[in-house]
């Protein structure tokens, strides 16, 4: 978390030389800052997606798959054509030639005959415009093979688990951190610090494996995985309870693994802020302890905490593959794994997901920038960025 926080600060401070021109345009400083950030992030997004495409296509692997797919679909289409069937009976060689011509035409139409550097730009354009194409074999529950449909179907589940998880762990972590900081070096603080450091270094899937073993398989208190047990013909309140029941273990594991960093960072921040002069002054004035914490400590601590929340969201969206796999939670991470785990890699789904991840990250960072602007008057005035 600290690592990501560090990276983010770097982005905020940096400036793009080419964008200096923007200063001539008369925009309010805050808008200018946002435009600048949007452009920087946009360029980064393009580069990141392009890099992913290049890596995923290395060795022409994806292309080979696509060519094979084209061959298959063309053959299927022609087989249903009566004139082709006729031709196949009378003159098989001509039929084969016709098939090859059709395949070649399709390959050319998709731009697969062009060299890779050129083709990668086509992929990039498709990816960036969210023209994600059709999957190879994965289908949504409505049997749609459009990658967009498949992803949109899974997205709410990932958001349900990991947004809730982030909020819960942040609330618990910050609360514990505040108390640790207030009673720094007490037994509670020392014990909690050590626990927090250890817990935050352990990923949620690790807790998940052990929690499933104990609470699901041995004790049978919770389901052993999945999102719902019964959906059709069940009243809505039972559905919600069912989902909550399934949510408990993954949520608990996610919280256990991430509350530590919140607690430890909040603690260090509180200790730091408690030593500041203005807190001393407030204390000398006789401000009650709770008010002191709320108004004089929490408020200056808000920007870093919001950074942490946003970055935790980012981390959760990218790092949820294994946690979702362990809990059989059919969200985006699990979809990723399904797309890669079959006999054939479902390349369009894999690339589509990577693009979605990249978009989610960029959007999160941009929202963060907006919030920074709101919270930090220096940025609004045009001095901070």
């Amino acid at each position: 978390m600290r690592r990501l926080g560090g990276r983010l600060d770097g982005i905020r401070r940096s400036s793009l030389r080419g964008l200096r021109r923007l200063r001539r345009v008369r925009l309010p400083p805050y808008a200018k800052y946002l435009v600048k950030r949007a452009v920087v992030l946009g360029i980064t997004l393009v580069v990141a997606v392009y890099l992913t495409i290049v890596i995923a296509n290395m060795g022409g692997y994806i292309d080979e798959l696509m060519k094979r797919q084209i061959e298959f679909s063309v053959r299927q289409r022609l087989m249903q054509d009566e004139s082709f069937q006729e031709q196949l009976r009378t003159d098989p060689e001509a039929a084969e030639r016709r098939l090859q011509i059709e395949i070649q035409r399709e390959i050319v139409a998709r731009g697969l005959d062009t060299p890779f550097p050129q083709r990668s730009l086509i992929y990039l354009r498709d990816a960036l415009t969210l023209d994600l194409g059709r999957s190879m074999w994965i289908r949504s529950t409505t049997m749609s093979q459009r990658v967009k449909d498949i992803i949109l179907e899974r997205l709410p589940r990932t958001v349900l688990l990991f947004t809730t998880g982030t909020v819960v762990s942040a609330a618990i972590g910050i609360y514990i951190g505040l108390h640790m900081g207030r009673k720094a070096l007490s037994k509670f603080d020392r014990g909690m610090s050590m626990f927090a450091i250890i817990a935050q270094s352990i990923p949620p899937w690790y807790f998940g494996i052990l929690a499933l073993l104990v609470f699901a398989y041995r004790l049978g208190w919770f389901p052993t995985g999945g999102f719902v047990s019964k959906w059709v013909g069940v009243p809505w309140h039972i559905r919600i309870l069912d989902i909550l029941h399934h949510l408990v273990l993954p949520l608990a594991c996610w919280t256990l693994s991430s509350f530590g960093s919140w607690a430890y960072l909040t603690r260090n921040m509180v200790i730091h802020i408690l030593g500041e002069d203005f807190v001393m002054a407030a204390r000398a004035k006789g401000v009650p302890r709770d008010l002191l914490l709320r108004r004089y400590v929490l408020r200056p601590a808000a920007p870093p905490i919001i950074t942490m929340i946003a970055l935790a969201l980012i981390a959760s969206w990218t790092g949820a593959i294994i946690t979702e796999t362990v809990f059989q939670w059919k969200g985006l991470g699990m979809l990723y794994w399904e797309a890669m785990g079959g006999e054939q890699i479902d390349a369009p789904v894999v690339i589509g997901l990577t693009v979605i991840y990249a978009y989610l990250l960029v959007i999160t960072v941009f929202i963060l920038d907006i919030i920074y602007g709101i919270l930090d008057p220096r940025i609004r005035a045009g001095g901070g960025a």
């Binding site: 920087v40 720094a184 070096l185 450091i197 270094s201 890669m340």
Partner: protein, 483 residues
């Protein structure tokens, strides 16, 4: 690189003075101890055998999915060990019987005794295995009997052996053994007037053969073990060939094995767990040290030179934040396959700019402004000399803390990829064992040791380094200690 002015030694001493430092040291000693045991308990040839998952492979004498021996401390019962009766354990009696005018007969009797005084029946997945090999050019007649302590004898088989297939293999899971046990139970039922359907007869040869006689033996839940000395009695009769010979091997699989149990392929998990220690330590430490070193160096460069260099490094840092590293790693692993070294290279490529770059970059300007650096500059020292001799040593303690704190993340990364089945194909790692357990539904079947032990190994190692990093952090960031 010269010694840092503060002194790495002093820092280490201080770290060892803290409680978390001491705890980290104890846990680390444990893991290093495991790594040291590897050449003694599981040298390279054992590692080769590790990947042999065939039924007749090197692990054939181990029970399937047996718990660790110490599991019986919890259940309060004496759980069966594996009993192996080899060629030497069988007493062999050979007779040449010749009558004038009659074909010569070779009679070989193999007898082996074994004590079975455990509170549980043999392994439920595979109770026993018997292998009889007859060397002759004639057809041999073979009978095998199991003699029980209650003086009953169970005819396991009566068969002939031809020179073309001189080896007879019997498993308790064979259909033939089920018929044997059913016949035996039916005989007892007729004698004692038991109603088999009313009593709910479940035909489990490994239970029936070793159960106390009575209606309770019909169900594995109620059956009690008949403790005592059993005997295996094998007779081989061959006509016309007085040179015939026979040898037998009997393995009665137990429910506990070794200190770490076994998996579904009968492998001794202790070997895999021990091997996981050096792999995890080496991977975690090398990845962490290399990445931290590069990050620190780039931070120093970024902070020292500023300007375009700084800008470029910041751009890359931004890019790295957007790239979804784990999905890309998985993709690369699936398409191209990963060895531990490839993974290491990828990790370095995807994280050579990170938290340390940022932290160090913010520290460098103040160090650069210090008088001894100015002095060095004034006597004409070059930038690189100043960086390596004067600035780098100053940020070294921070790097140590970062190295220790980063080790768990790399260990877990490797474990995660191995868990998904994408790890190094040759090395047994803790993550791989966990992944195999998951794939074999170990948690569902209750093979807890298969999940808990590798998980514990990963957990202990991660905890050790997290504690070490925490202790270091406290030493190098004194602000966190005081109010």
């Amino acid at each position: 690189m010269s010694a840092p002015p503060i002194g790495a030694k002093a820092a280490f001493k201080e770290v060892m003075g803290t409680l978390s430092g001491k705890a980290a040291f104890v846990l680390l000693a444990l893991i290093v101890g495991m790594a040291v045991l590897v050449p003694i308990y599981a040298p390279f040839n054992v590692l080769k055998a590790w990947h042999d998952k065939t039924e007749a492979g090197p692990w054939a004498d181990n029970p399937k999915c047996a718990a660790p021996i110490w599991a019986e401390w919890f259940v309060g019962k004496k759980l069966p060990r594996t009993i192996v009766l080899d060629d030497d354990d069988f007493r062999k009696y050979a007779y040449n019987i010749t009558y004038p005018g009659q074909p010569p007969l070779k009679l070989i009797v193999l007898v082996a005794y074994f004590d079975y005084r455990y509170d549980e029946f043999p392994n439920h997945l595979n109770g026993f295995r018997l292998r009889v090999e007859v060397t002759t050019n004639q057809t041999a007649c073979l009978t095998i009997k199991l003699l029980r302590p209650d003086k009953r004898a169970i005819n396991l088989t009566e068969t002939i052996i031809t020179p073309e297939s001189p080896i007879l293999r019997i498993y308790d899971t064979d259909e033939a053994m089920k018929q044997v046990s059913e016949r035996y139970v039916k005989y007892l039922a007729e004698k004692n007037n038991w109603n088999l359907t009313a009593l709910g007869f479940v035909n489990m040869p490994y239970v029936i053969f070793f159960a106390k006689e009575g209606p309770s033996m019909l169900n594995p839940r109620t059956a009690e073990v008949l403790k005592g000395t059993y005997a295996l009695y094998i007779t081989v009769r061959v006509l016309y060939d007085l040179t015939a010979d026979a040898k037998a091997k009997f393995v009665l699989y137990g429910r506990v094995h070794g200190w770490a149990g076994t998996d579904i392929w009968r492998r001794d998990l202790l070997i895999g767990l021990l091997w996981g220690a050096p792999v995890a330590l080496a991977f975690g430490i090398i990845a962490s040290v290399v990445v931290s070193l590069i990050q620190t160096l780039l931070g120093v460069i970024s902070g020292y030179f500023g300007g375009k260099v700084d800008d470029a490094i910041q751009r890359i840092a931004e890019l790295y934040m957007i790239i979804p590293v784990l999905p890309i790693l998985i993709l690369v692993a699936i398409i191209y396959g990963l060895t531990i070294w490839k993974l290491l290279a990828l990790v370095v490529i995807f994280s050579f700019i990170g938290s340390m770059t940022k932290t160090v970059r913010s520290m460098v300007p103040s160090i650069k402004a210090e008088q001894y650096v100015l002095a060095a500059q004034s006597y004409g020292a070059g930038s690189w000399r100043i960086i390596f001799k004067h600035i780098f040593p100053r940020v070294l303690p921070y790097m140590f803390a970062n190295i220790a704190l980063a080790v768990p993340s790399y260990i877990f990364l490797e474990a995660a990829l191995s868990f998904l089945g994408l790890g190094d194909p040759l090395l047994p790692t803790w993550g791989k064992i966990l992944g195999e357990a998951e794939a074999a539904h170990a948690a569902y079947y209750g093979y807890w040791w298969w999940v808990v032990l590798p998980a514990a190994c990963i957990g202990i190692t991660a905890t050790a380094f997290a504690l070490l990093g925490y202790a270091f952090d406290k030493v190098v960031n004194p602000r966190l200690r005081e109010l």
